[in-house]
Symmetry: C2
Subunit: 353 residues, 2 copies
């Protein structure tokens, strides 16, 4: 659906567009019945006032929504109580919004659910939030298209979405740096647990694979299909994938996991099979979660500046909401990561707490 | 402040209480200026319509707030990116509310901040939420008293707050069971890392200590001051506390940590000092977070039915909001925990994934 203008609303309500404008900016000056007719027309048309009109209104909601794209992810007990990025990111956004006097609203958005998009549209058309942070997992997410069509203030988090404001990590460079480090320090057969097979987060998985491939090429190491292993995002997935790897005749001498939680399972499986880390196999994680400094051995991991990204995304959103950033002035930032080296790749590393 | 009635509002606005009632239930039947006068009086008096009056109103917000009590907790980068209960609980509540068509609003409430309570009061007086889940850390939390005075629908999570609906864990029984198990299986000097020294969560810490003390008494073991060690809630806290313990001449033969994250630090410190777990010292955590099955050795831990508690708290809140539960019919539930035994207390335990 295209962007509705106040002229569309005026036509529907059978009034002049000046009257619609008056309702938007000085509703108290319009007779009640006229106002109600116009408001009904706005609802029918899912009309969203433009930035300029809205900024003239007296009561912004001072609320933003964090909308998490979820695929067919099970909402079962086990899945819910996983320590996932969603919980951490909610916590970080909640605190940052709170510090700035904004209220945070949480929504999940499931493109497979029949009423998925309309539940999010409701937040927009009822003006319950001033803007949105979208945690998208693919660039063609229909929610992004909808928000763009409505010219509603939003920022994409964690993905470089063309044409939108975004805060994302330099995923390719992150894995490139880790694999280059492993190759330079002696690893020759580096396995990449590349992430889930279910198509979610596919741009992220693809970017990381690019970093892996490029680093191997630079080091003159072959790209071996048998060393690129699809794997889910939990410790159990990492555990099982590693046991399978160890059953092969030709073991890798390093494993790069797509996530620290996966790496915890990798370390456990290697320990249970009596494989020494880093002596026989070296291990690298991704995310540098707090626990990574305390695994046995402690885990070398890739750290993204998550809180910095959260602050950037929120600040950008506020600029867009308040109209100090023009729609064409896209804020798009790929944040660099850094490799935190610990015992799982270098024995005797001093603890980096 | 006491509960304001519509008579107080009527007096303030200089109208009859029937007119105030009309504004609450059929605002469209009241002249605009009169309505605005009455609404201003409501705001001035921080008037909150009673449950019965509110249930007659046409538009409930279909929103609930999760309000987390925070002390002087630093909102710095390190603290924010810790995997804490707050993130996990937010994620669980967000999903459950979402499944039921409710919107989740997040707020932090800091009793030390000058505008702390008024920011929460705003949500109530502006009727932006229909109810609240309060994550309180002490029973005399002023937020609880405020909500009780206003007769606003709320449920306390994680603490047995007298006079309020609550979902809490049987904290005393949880630690009692763990320590009894350790004593019965041969531990004689059981150290208890009892939790933070800063007074937060003090009822929880006290309940857990009671369980420790009772189990020792039952087993005929002495309660030794030197084995009750205050300790923060992070892995680093557990790491440092354990190093100090190991420097003493008289080492314990078991350590019960107040939290799994703390236990991760305990395991790491024991490993770094070459102390065998469970051979020389056995370790028990609390919370049974997903990673605990993958530590080296895997961690025996106390599991609370968190998701069940979240569902109970939400269902109770909805009953109160919808008026199907009367205010005097308190829903108060202490949920039992269970001990999940793994390698950190019994060598050779089969993995419990």
């Amino acid at each position: 659906m295209g962007q509705m203008t106040i002229k569309d609303v005026a036509r529907r309500a059978g009034v002049s567009f000046q009257t619609v404008s008056l309702v938007l900016n000085h509703p108290e000056k319009v007779a009640r019945t006229t106002r109600e007719t116009i408001e009904a027309a706005m609802r029918d048309l899912e009309f969203v006032p433009s930035l300029a009109a809205r900024s003239l209104r007296k009561k912004p909601s001072r609320s933003i929504a964090c909308v998490f794209a979820v695929g067919a992810r099970p909402d079962d007990a086990a899945g819910l109580m996983q320590e996932t990025d969603e919980g951490l990111l909610l916590q970080a956004f909640a605190t940052v919004t709170d510090q700035h006097g904004y209220t945070l609203i949480h929504r999940r958005w499931c493109r497979d659910a029949p009423d998925g998009l309309s539940r999010i549209t409701g937040l927009v058309s009822e003006a319950r939030v001033d803007g949105m942070v979208v945690f998208a997992e693919c660039r063609d997410d229909p929610l992004i298209a909808m928000l763009q069509a409505k010219r509603f203030p939003f920022v994409v988090f964690g993905l470089d979405a063309p044409g939108a404001h975004f805060a994302a990590r330099a995923e390719r460079d992150a894995v490139y740096e880790a694999v280059r480090y492993l190759a330079r320090t002696g690893s020759r057969s580096i396995c990449f647990l590349k992430g889930a097979q279910d198509g979610r987060r596919s741009p992220t998985v693809a970017e990381r694979f690019r970093g892996y491939r490029d680093a191997l090429a630079e080091a003159g190491l072959p790209l071996r299909d048998d060393l690129v292993v699809p794997c889910g995002w939990t410790s159990e997935d990492g555990y099982r994938a590693t046991l399978s790897l160890l059953d092969r005749p030709d073991r890798p001498d390093a494993i790069v996991a797509a996530d620290d939680r996966v790496a915890f399972g990798v370390l456990k499986a290697l320990h249970d099979r009596g494989v020494h880390v880093p002596g026989a196999i070296r291990v690298v994680g991704f995310d540098n979660c707090v626990q990574s400094a305390f695994t046995i051995p402690s885990l070398t991991s890739i750290e993204g500046p998550t809180l910095e990204m959260v602050r950037f995304a929120f600040a950008t959103l506020v600029e867009v909401i308040e109209g100090t950033r023009t729609p064409d002035d896209l804020a798009q930032k790929l944040f660099p990561t850094r490799l935190v080296v610990r015992e799982s790749t270098e024995a005797g590393t001093r603890p980096q707490l």
